[in-house]
């Protein structure tokens, strides 16, 4: 009955049917892309990182044990990709690159402008959160992960995650307020 579960498919990939990775790609690439997009704010960079995640899944496929949820394992790979990227770039982003936007359909130019500003501001505030807090918050807010799963991913207790996410939201609120004060309305 488990023919379609992520885990069963990943086991097949591990055992040599690498073409089945395509199924996992189709299921998860948009989610991972959005995780990176929220972590980094850059479209191009996020696409590069998604590609890295799937390259690593292939490279380390033999280490997949099939215990626990596949997505937790996948997000662990994604976290490593992100951390390695930060290490390589020492956290310096090109600001021009960071807040680029795809062209969007807009109902009214003013409204779209407002929304764009809002988005930039919240993305900027997010990028000022310490990395771990940012990751935990995004995983919980957008990636539909339970505290238990995030704790498993980070290798810590559920209580720690709960407290950290609470602090992250608070801190984000403070940063956002500060940034808003600096922007003429």
């Amino acid at each position: 009955m488990e023919s379609l579960s992520d885990s069963a498919i990943m086991e097949k990939v591990r055992d040599g049917q690498v073409e089945k990775l395509a199924i996992l790609f189709e299921r998860h690439h948009v989610k991972i892309f959005n995780l990176f997009l929220r972590l980094t704010g850059s479209h191009n960079l996020s696409e590069d990182l998604v590609q890295d995640v799937f390259i690593r899944i292939l490279k380390y496929r033999s280490t997949y044990e099939g215990k626990g949820k596949f997505t937790v394992w996948m997000y662990r790979v994604a976290r490593n990709v992100h951390v390695d990227h930060l290490r390589k770039n020492k956290g310096t982003y090109n600001l021009e690159d960071q807040f680029e936007e795809p062209e969007s359909e807009e109902d009214s130019p003013m409204h779209a402008l407002e929304q764009k500003k809002d988005k930039e501001l919240i993305q900027k505030a997010l990028s000022q959160l310490p990395v771990k807090k940012r990751e935990a918050l995004i995983l919980s807010r957008f990636q539909d992960m339970k505290y238990k799963e995030i704790a498993e991913l980070f290798g810590c207790r559920e209580g720690t995650i709960k407290a950290n996410i609470h602090r992250a939201v608070k801190q984000l609120g403070e940063i956002y307020l500060e940034l808003q004060g600096g922007v003429p309305s």
Binding site: M1, S3, L4, S5, I9, Q17, V18, E19, K20, L21, A22, I23, F25, E26, R27, H29, V30, F33, N34, L37, R38, H43, S46, E47, V50, Q51, F54, I55, L58, P102, Q115, D118, K119, I122, Q123, L126, S140, R141, F142, K146, Y147, K162, A163, I165, H166, V169, K170, L172, G173, Y176
Partner: protein, 270 residues
């Protein structure tokens, strides 16, 4: 509940994961406690604000890059397998005798053996050429090959055809029809399951969506039914709800499947 305890649950409250009872406890507490209410309000504000970061779609480039990476990886793997075979031959070199007399005898023996084997195995180089052509194949070639494999009598060949369709980015109608008819009428459960997996990749195609929904009522194997139900849920295909409902009413359907269909309906209607 104490303030500390209540506040600890705030972010979980925001994710909507708390039980009804827990939610009510928090609501009762904040109705009476100003400090906690302000805290919850400010958390809610920023939590909601995060909603402006809507889910976005990556460009098509990402998909193209992924599939070419996968293809390259497979080719590299095949290359490694070939090299490993070569490595075996170099180890055989150590078996070469030192004394010229034995060298001569062994050579003679090998010559005779070579003549015999050579006669029998002239087919091998041709086979390798075919394999190489397969590796280099362009999508269209793979496509027609997949179609013709799926037509074969042998189950393993049909399976091979379905596996081949995994690597295609834009399958044509002919292949999609073939996969759908395999899903509905192949005698082997395993092959029908493989067809479900392959069709999952192309679920964006309107024809495939409709075909998958229609197929639900035609399946008799619980395994295939379960796979189809899971698929509908994972692609959030709401139009499948009717088909799932009629599955519930049908007689002779495995009770476990009925359960699964019922859960599927719930998750799709959510």
């Amino acid at each position: 509940m104490t303030c500390k305890k209540t506040q600890e649950m705030f972010t979980e409250y925001l994710t909507g994961r708390l039980s009804k009872k827990e939610r009510e406890e928090i609501q009762t507490h904040v109705a009476e406690c100003d400090t906690c209410r302000r805290e919850l309000e400010s958390l809610t504000e920023i939590w909601t604000k995060l909603g402006v970061l809507e889910e976005e779609r990556p460009s098509d480039r990402l998909r193209t890059r992924f599939y070419s990476m996968l293809e390259q990886y497979k080719q590299a793997e095949e290359e490694i397998v070939r090299k490993e075979k070569k490595g075996l031959f170099s180890r055989l070199k150590n078996l070469w005798p030192r004394k010229p007399v034995f060298q001569f005898a062994l050579t003679l023996g090998m010559l005779v053996m070579g003549l015999v084997i050579g006669n029998v195995w002239t087919v091998i180089p041709q086979q390798e050429a075919v394999n190489k052509a397969l590796v280099d194949e362009v999508q269209t070639m793979r496509q027609s090959l997949a179609v013709s494999l799926i037509d074969q009598d042998s189950a393993s060949e049909r399976l091979q055809g379905i596996n081949m369709s995994y690597t295609l980015v834009n399958p044509d109608d002919k292949l999609l029809d073939k996969l759908l008819s395999t899903l509905n009428s192949d005698p082997s459960v395993n092959i029908r399951l493989a067809a479900v997996e392959a069709l999952y990749l192309f679920h964006d195609h309107p024809k495939v969506k409709k075909g998958l929904i229609d197929s639900l009522s035609q399946q008799s194997s619980p395994m295939v039914q379960a796979a189809l139900i899971d698929l509908m849920v994972s692609i959030r295909e709401r139009r499948a709800v009717d088909a799932l409902k009629s599955l519930l009413e049908e007689e002779g359907v495995n009770p476990e499947i009925k359960d699964r269909a019922e859960q599927g309906i719930k998750r799709l209607s959510f």
